[in-house]
């Protein structure tokens, strides 16, 4: 029997601050296998991956054994330099954020060639071009000379996979390789990863994605592996509660499509367009679009990145004037909505809160625009607002750094709500949250629409998730807004891969 490609036994990781990232983790990845490491954020899956690759800080304490097939030593006993030389040739690495993985000053070609250069080999330009063409990069030869900011995220991630598998490693380790990509692209990228690797160990928080691309699934919870089995077994007969929770999060029941209610219109757009000047010419971000949003209604816009949905959102919220067409708020055409009537929720909740301000100050800031309020009154109002978004137990005097990302997003929603807006606009409000937190957030937004009658305009690339709460889903592709086609109506039909 051949030894497994990578074998991890009783791995324990303790960070300098005393946090235990992994506790007694034991598993193996066999040659030719694809294994998914699944769990919520903070469950230790990235820690496990990084300790195999030797990427944890020098002051982190790691115990246990990690063996790689053709070397008969425990790599944890080696000195860092020897170890890196050894593992670099046998383990490939694909990181999470495609843009972050690239040195912005170097060309994409440099990045793809680097694994060879480090091993002292001469890269063959024609061969690299052929490899990139094979994973679907058009005009690969010229594109290799470009810089990362000139590439799209999906293309970059495919190039990263080519780079990570250059030396045909025993196992390719991938840390959330698709979390920054649209759902369609994610499938494509994972297939590429699988096709180019001898064996794959990838980390994800999405059980459905894991089931589609892995032979075996390992579920992690609080630093331990709590369930292990073939994809089919784990999916069909989950034994651990954590697996059931993850499973529940990946099944989304779409909300029934409704016709616009007979409530007053809070915002409407007719024939609005937007163009941007780019280096060589103009780029039409939004083609003439018509749209109306009624009170108490959630209107979702879905579409691939770069389709113009964020631009449309900024115009509807009055943050950016359209180049042509008219926008009305509360039935009146004007240059902008009345202050406080349209409130935004941003994608990154932590950076949308001032880190130096206590929560009450951030939450009640919208109220201070029109009147003066005492501190005691503001703290009282903040406490009320926090209760409304389900985190009444939080101290209004706390500061943002004490919050989790999910709590921070709830605080941001409380801030948006306190001004009693007619419309809340949210650009990818769940993009930085893990699956379960994201679902809870969407449920909260639905609840606010039903209870307070706040209309919402939400942009997301996650069709399934947005579909669970939106009354209407509009699709946007290349600047065209298609109000008629609700993607939920034909969810089974094959989806087109965006370019």
């Amino acid at each position: 029997m051949t030894p497994p490609a990578v074998q991890v036994e009783d791995l324990c990781v303790t960070y300098p601050n005393g946090h235990r990232g992994a506790i007694g983790v034991t598993f193996a990845v066999d040659e030719g296998e694809s294994v998914a490491l699944v769990g919520e954020s903070g469950c230790g899956k990235t820690t496990t991956l990084r300790s195999i690759q030797g990427l944890l800080g020098a002051r982190t304490r790691i115990t246990g054994t990690i063996r790689i097939a053709d070397v008969d030593v425990d790599v944890l006993t080696l000195r860092p330099r020897e170890r890196h030389l050894l593992t670099a040739r046998r383990l490939g690495y694909v990181s999470q954020d495609p843009y972050g993985a690239y040195d912005p000053l170097r060309t994409v070609g440099h990045h793809v060639r680097e694994p060879l250069l480090i091993q002292g080999r001469r890269p063959d330009a024609a061969d690299l071009t052929a490899q990139l063409t094979a994973v679907g990069i058009p005009e690969a030869a010229t594109r290799l000379g470009q810089h990362p900011h000139q590439w799209s995220g999906g293309m970059l991630q495919r190039a990263t996979i080519v780079a990570g598998t250059q030396l045909s490693p025993l196992v390719t380790l991938a840390d959330e390789p698709t979390s920054a990509l649209d759902a369609d692209l994610a499938d494509n990228v994972l297939s590429t990863l699988r096709a180019r690797s001898r064996a794959v160990l990838f980390v994800t928080h999405d059980l459905a994605l894991a089931a589609a691309h892995a032979d075996r699934i390992l579920v992690m919870h609080e630093g331990r592996i709590v369930e292990e089995g073939t994809a089919a077994t784990v999916l069909r007969q989950p034994r651990h509660d954590q697996t059931r929770l993850l499973l529940a999060a990946s099944i989304r029941a779409p909300r029934l499509v409704r016709t616009p209610p007979r409530t007053p219109t809070v915002a409407s757009a007719s024939g609005v367009t937007k163009r941007y000047r780019s280096g060589t010419g103009t780029l039409t971000a939004v083609q003439p679009a018509d749209l109306s949003i009624h009170a108490g209604e959630i209107v979702g816009v879905v579409g691939p990145s770069g389709s113009g949905k964020s631009t449309l959102l900024r115009m509807v919220s009055g943050m950016e004037p359209p180049d042509s067409g008219t926008l009305t708020w509360n039935g009146q055409a004007s240059a902008g909505p009345t202050p406080g009537s349209v409130m935004p929720i941003s994608q990154d909740p932590l950076s949308s809160l001032d880190p130096r301000w206590p929560l009450w100050r951030s939450i009640t800031e919208p109220l201070t625009v029109t009147r003066r309020l005492g501190k005691a009154e503001r703290i009282r109002l903040a406490r009320e607002a926090l209760t409304q978004v389900g985190i009444g137990h939080l101290d209004p005097l706390a500061r943002p750094r004490q919050l989790s990302v999910g709590q921070a997003q709830r605080v941001a929603i409380a801030r948006a709500l306190i001004a009693r807006p007619a419309l809340i606009v949210a650009d990818e409000p769940t993009a930085s949250l893990d699956v379960r937190t994201a679902q809870a957030m969407m449920a909260l937004l639905r609840d606010l629409a039903d209870r307070h009658g706040v209309a919402q305009f939400i942009v997301s690339h996650d069709v399934a998730l947005l579909g669970t709460i939106a009354d209407r889903l509009l699709t946007m592709t290349d600047g065209h807004l298609d109000a008629a086609a609700d993607p939920r109506a034909h969810a089974d039909a094959p989806r087109q891969e965006p370019s």
Binding site: A88, R89, D103, I118, G279
Partner: protein, 315 residues
């Protein structure tokens, strides 16, 4: 691109103009009457009112300030930089005599500061949280805190007088430039190496270095291929600003080491109210500063491809 260069050029001219007005206003507001000082400098110790009046007319001091400024400006555009009120010789000539010594001093100290701060900053960042890092941090902090004249006097006393390494009276040549240049460079070395250390450390924590590390890249490769180039743009901006600081610090060091440069000469001119000299020196200093920062901008653009190709980001 051509448009951008033209705009920068226009901005530089506007800066020069604004600076000249500022210097003029300050000279006008100065409480001392330049005439007496000038007459004294020319050997007339107790001038009579007639002599003073004649001198005022000669220098055009009785004309309205705006007219005087415009006349000065027009002369400058014709390449006439005026005559030193004190010595009666053309300003350009007087400065030109002393400028090479100052240029040598600031040039050498600039070079010293850049080389030393790159060495200290990069090595400290590569040894983050180890002994060498701490040593560098302590040394550089001391360099930032100790004022350059104090350091200069210290050097003069111990190194030059006691150990007899070097000469007390500097002659403005390569042989004697080292100690004054080091004195002048001290503050910059401390400040610049701290900035570079922080900047390299930040670059080293970037996710692309994690990728590089996973690929088995050596520390040398991580630092010199990825971290240092990414750390350079912010550091270069600081260096460009600091170059002006070196120019400003020159008079003090020149005074300590009796360096025959333009700094000490200008200090005398300021106390005598010798307007043409002060104006000329200020203009030269500002022009140097503008040229240096312009070059830095170009360099940063060359280093960072994201600044070269403007792309619109939609959605």
């Amino acid at each position: 691109m051509a448009g951008r260069v033209l705009r920068r050029f226009g901005a530089a001219l506007a800066t020069l103009l604004a600076a000249s007005i500022l210097v003029w206003v300050m000279l006008m507001a100065a409480p001392t009457d330049p005439v007496e000082g000038i007459l004294r400098a020319r050997g007339i110790l107790e001038p009579d009112p007639y002599q003073v009046a004649a001198m005022r007319t000669e220098l055009g001091l009785d004309d309205p300030p705006v007219l005087r400024y415009l006349r000065w400006l027009a002369a400058w555009f014709h390449g006439d930089f005026g005559v030193s009120w004190k010595s009666g010789r053309p300003v350009a000539e007087e400065i030109a005599q002393r400028l090479p010594a100052t240029a040598l001093l600031t040039g050498v100290s600039m070079l010293m500061a850049v080389v030393a701060s790159v060495l200290l900053g990069v090595t400290a960042a590569s040894c983050h949280r180890r002994a060498w890092d701490t040593v560098v941090r302590v040394i550089t902090l001391a360099l930032v805190i100790v004022p350059s004249f104090l350091f200069g006097l210290l050097v003069l006393n111990t190194v030059v007088l006691r150990l007899k390494w070097g000469r007390v009276v500097a002659d403005g040549t390569w042989l004697t430039v080292w100690w004054p240049a080091l004195t002048l460079a001290c503050g910059a070395i401390g400040y610049w190496s701290r900035v570079l250390r922080a900047s390299v450390l930040e670059a080293l924590s970037a996710p692309y270095l994690l990728v590089s590390r996973a690929r088995g890249a050596s520390l040398t490769r991580q630092v010199f291929v990825h971290a240092l180039p990414n750390a350079l743009p912010p550091w270069l901006t600081i260096v460009a600003l600091g170059a002006a600081g070196l120019l400003g610090g020159a008079p003090i060091v020149e005074a300590v080491f009796t360096w025959p440069g333009v700094g000490a000469y200008t200090v005398q001119a300021i106390s005598a109210g010798d307007a043409p000299v002060v104006l000329f020196y200020t203009m030269v200093a500002i022009t140097t500063f503008i040229v240096v920062s312009l070059l830095t901008d170009v360099l940063v653009t060359v280093l960072d491809p994201r600044l070269r190709t403007p792309t619109a980001v939609a959605s």
